[in-house]
């Protein structure tokens, strides 16, 4: 059950976040998604719940139950929710918006397919712009996943316990991506944007450099020596968070 809860939380806290990012930044969906007016809530019985909202202001997502749900889906378990995210198994039970399910079957599914295309390992993307979007999504996933992995995954929990407190900034020097991971009072939180206070930094020269590292074309060691990345500040914070991030590929390949 622990692994299923972990996977369910990654789906709700990371994958929904990536879908919102695609909707907000991918030229294929940016304008189109602003015409959607749907707030979809996913609830796994005995497990986590989360939501994604599309509005003229853009897409957003979160955990728990939001205001203004237009489509409510109840899953019988975390396993059921995870199967739904893999397009397998029984359909969810709609508790609200039964007449709007076509949105899930068409627009939402198209968005999911686009996310898969952009993040599939080894795929050759059509343009530099797509590559950059794909890289931002990978960075985004890595940042968002750390608190979930730290709480739910056995080895990551050990790494998390051994991680010093502080704020790690993860960014590209060209400003194309900026995010942070904070450990405070023993708990991890993460977000996008520039943090106010920084204890350590993991910086990529640009998105191309980040892609080289994230797709494994260079190791972290080589990337530092070659000037693709740099780390500074409280290095044990960088080391442990990197090891936690590395384990994400086991769950979101």
């Amino acid at each position: 059950m622990g692994a299923d809860i972990l996977q369910a939380r990654l789906n709700l806290e990371v994958v929904l976040g990536l879908l919102a990012e695609v909707a907000n930044t991918d030229p294929l969906f940016r304008e189109r998604s602003r015409t959607w007016r749907e707030t979809t809530w996913f609830k796994a019985l005995g497990g986590p719940e989360g939501w994604i909202r599309f509005s003229p202001d853009g897409a957003s997502h979160g955990i728990g139950k939001p205001e203004g749900v237009t489509i409510g889906l109840v899953l019988l378990s975390a396993i059921h929710l995870n199967r739904m995210f893999r397009n397998e198994g029984l359909p969810p039970v709609p508790v609200k918006g039964i007449g709007r399910l076509s949105f899930l079957k068409k627009e939402f599914t198209e968005l999911g397919t686009r996310l898969q295309t952009l993040t599939r390992p080894g795929i050759t993307l059509r343009s530099k712009e797509e590559e950059h979007l794909s890289t931002r999504l990978m960075l985004n996933a890595a940042v968002r996943a750390v608190p979930v992995l730290a709480e739910e995954e056995g080895t990551c929990a050990k790494l998390a316990a051994a991680t010093p407190e502080g704020v790690l900034e993860i960014a590209t020097l060209d400003g194309a991506f900026s995010g942070w991971i904070r450990k405070e009072g023993g708990r991890f939180t993460a977000g996008l944007g520039k943090p106010e206070r920084v204890t350590a930094r993991m910086l990529f020269r640009d998105l191309d450099a980040a892609r080289i590292v994230l797709t494994g074309k260079e190791t972290g060691f080589a990337a530092i020596g070659l000037g693709l990345t740099r780390i500074e500040g409280l290095i044990p914070l960088v080391d442990n968070v990197s090891l936690i991030m590395d384990r994400l590929e086991r769950y979101l390949a």
């Binding site: 790494l159 910086l203 060691f221 080589a222 020596g225």
Partner: protein
């Protein structure tokens, strides 16, 4: 930390200090054929910022090495420990050359192995026997296997942050290539915490085979800590009472603090001591020595390697140990270390910084305390390196008997210039 742009400003572009185009070119070549380019503790990550550090060296002598770009450095890492007598020590090198002219790796063991074991048993008070290998991890592994063979138990107690090699049982959870079974029987407790040791021994009564620790706590990225008064006495008493094999990992500190093993300086007697690094002044050899009561058990453990009988490094080790004794090296290293460190602390103070020295003077750990993120310290070490005094910011340094008064003076001048530079860039500290 200050603004990103300032932090990332590359002072080499302003024409200050060394630049390393050949090192960089070699690293690029290396990355094509060696995963990571340079692996392990020689890899780029601890070199912060990396542009301040060379990656390849092709010459070394005494206290100095030269990188492939032709810059000469006073070396305070000493190959991360082995070079206790300095590079190209004539006595050691001659002993090595003489031996390999006769034999080195062969089909049979060489007589020098017996001679070296006899000398170690004479030099190290607890040693009734000696066993040789190549690296520190070879003998920390043997020590743990011996403890398990002797007791028939499973658990090993180690100190949080303690390093005993890269064997899976000794790596921290979460590193690549490990599985949870690797750390199932290793229990980590805080340094200097007798109560924690007592509790773990009681909770695992009858199942603890060994306790392994360095003689004082020298983790990376953190201040080093000496044993509290009475700590080792109480540890010894508890281990004896619970029938636990007492292992000291003296791989890093061995022969730097006391020629009889660092335990002699702190006044206690372990069952097993692991030596490597300084024992051969750069020639590859490690040793496990132990008490009579474990002779039978270590003799039953099967542990060997293709190159573990190399006679050249054994001859070098014998010459190194004799030379260390002739020089009274521990006293000399302490004196040199104290002179250097006192000078550095004063230089730091003159610029308004607090440089904290921890550990023993012969292998000190330094940290500028004005910045808890370590960034200021990283940039100061980098500025020193780019001016010819090679320091890394994350690890304890090593003093060798080859460091001279002139080296110290030159190093203090470099430190002064480096402090001036970071003062200009960062001010009094990093908030």
């Amino acid at each position: 930390m200050t603004e990103k742009n300032e932090m990332l400003e590359n002072t080499t572009e302003r024409g200050e200090g060394f630049t390393y185009p050949r090192s960089r070119a070699l690293l690029e070549r290396a990355c094509r054929v060696i995963p990571g380019g340079i692996y392990g503790h020689f890899g780029p990550p601890p070199c912060v910022p990396p542009e301040a550090y060379p990656f390849f060296s092709d010459w070394a002598e005494g206290s100095r090495f030269r990188d492939v770009d032709g810059h000469e450095f006073i070396d305070y890492m000493c190959a991360y420990g082995p070079m206790i007598l300095g590079y190209k020590n004539p006595v050691v090198d001659e002993a090595f050359k003489t031996q390999v002219a006769k034999s080195d790796t062969g089909t049979l063991a060489a007589p020098v192995m017996v001679e070296l074991a006899e000398y170690l048993c004479e030099l190290v008070p607890i040693a009734d026997w000696a066993f040789f290998a190549k690296n520190g991890a070879d003998v920390t592994n043997l020590a743990v296997m011996t403890a398990r063979a002797a007791t028939g138990r499973r658990k090993i107690i180690a100190i949080k942050g303690g390093y005993h090699g890269t064997t899976p049982w000794m790596q921290s959870p979460g590193h690549h290539g490990l599985i949870p079974d690797d750390w199932t029987h290793v229990i980590r407790i805080p340094w200097n915490d007798v109560n924690a040791l007592r509790q773990v021994l009681e909770e695992n009564a009858g199942d603890v085979a060994g306790f392994i620790s360095s003689p004082y706590h020298h983790p990376v990225f953190a201040d080093n800590e000496l044993p509290a008064p009475g700590y080792w006495d109480e540890v010894s008493r508890l281990l004896r009472r619970h029938g636990v094999v007492f292992i000291i990992d003296d791989v890093r500190a061995g022969f730097r603090l006391h020629l009889g093993g660092s335990c002699e300086l702190y006044g206690f007697k372990p069952d097993l001591i692991c030596f490597s690094k300084a024992i051969g002044n750069g020639y590859p050899i490690s040793a496990l020595v132990g008490v009579e009561s474990l002779r039978k058990d270590v003799g039953r453990v099967f542990h060997t390697g293709s190159f573990w009988f190399g006679a050249g490094p054994m001859a070098a080790a014998l010459a190194t140990l004799k030379e260390l004794k002739r020089l009274d090296a521990p006293a000399l290293l302490r004196e040199t270390g104290e002179k250097l460190l006192n000078g550095m602390v004063e230089v730091a103070k003159s610029h308004g910084y607090t440089l904290k020295v921890s550990g023993e003077p012969s292998m000190p750990y330094l940290r500028i305390t004005d910045d808890p993120t370590m960034t200021l310290h990283q940039y100061w070490c980098a500025e020193c390196t780019r001016r010819g005094a090679y320091f890394t910011s994350h690890h304890n340094w090593f003093i060798s008997t080859a460091h001279t008064e002139q080296d110290i003076q030159k190093t203090l001048e470099i430190c002064d210039a480096a402090f001036r530079t970071i003062k200009k860039r960062f001010g009094n500290g990093i908030e």
